[in-house]
Symmetry: C2
Subunit: 102 residues, 2 copies
């Protein structure tokens, strides 16, 4: 199957969960997001690739719910921040020191 | 500009930061990810759409770094979990109770 655009995924998550997400509101959605972040942490520490895969999907879906609620287009956001190389050193690959923020 | 596939964005983040991410390792990358999650929380609470947009980009970029480290294809992960409707009720839009996962 063809890879899907980030924008189409964000719209897909809105079609699936947007109505519930809007009723729940940002703070409630953020709590669900963080619950999944915790599950991802546990999966990265001690679980199989299959389990990690599902936790990544959940974290990303909740991040999309939060972005939908805020009116943020994640594709445009990545393009703005990372579309022209590292936002700090401007290079690809980034040549900043490991401890520096990219 | 055309919307970019999720897979291409994940590869872009790997090209930018993959070498540094691999040296830093999963635990270190997770700490950076959580720092950005905290900044997103602050931005959603009290900052402008422009600031929120950049924080969403940072959280998603670090999530991609973690996925690259784990060998997880985020497009395939979303397809597996959310490609056939809600993973619980199977419907689009989801018809689960608001308090139910997901």
């Amino acid at each position: 199957m063809e890879p899907t655009t980030l924008q189409a995924w964000q719209e897909r998550i809105d079609a699936l969960f947007g109505a519930k997400d809007r009723r729940r509101g940002t703070a409630g959605n953020f709590m669900w997001f963080l619950e999944e972040v915790g599950e991802l942490s546990a999966a990265l520490r001690a679980e199989t690739l299959a389990e990690q895969t599902l936790e990544f999907a959940d974290v990303l879906a909740w991040l999309m719910s939060l972005a939908n609620g805020a009116g943020v287009d994640l594709d445009a956001a990545l393009r703005e921040k990372y579309g022209s190389g590292c936002p700090r050193c401007r290079l690809v690959p980034c040549n900043c020191a490991v401890g520096d923020k990219p």
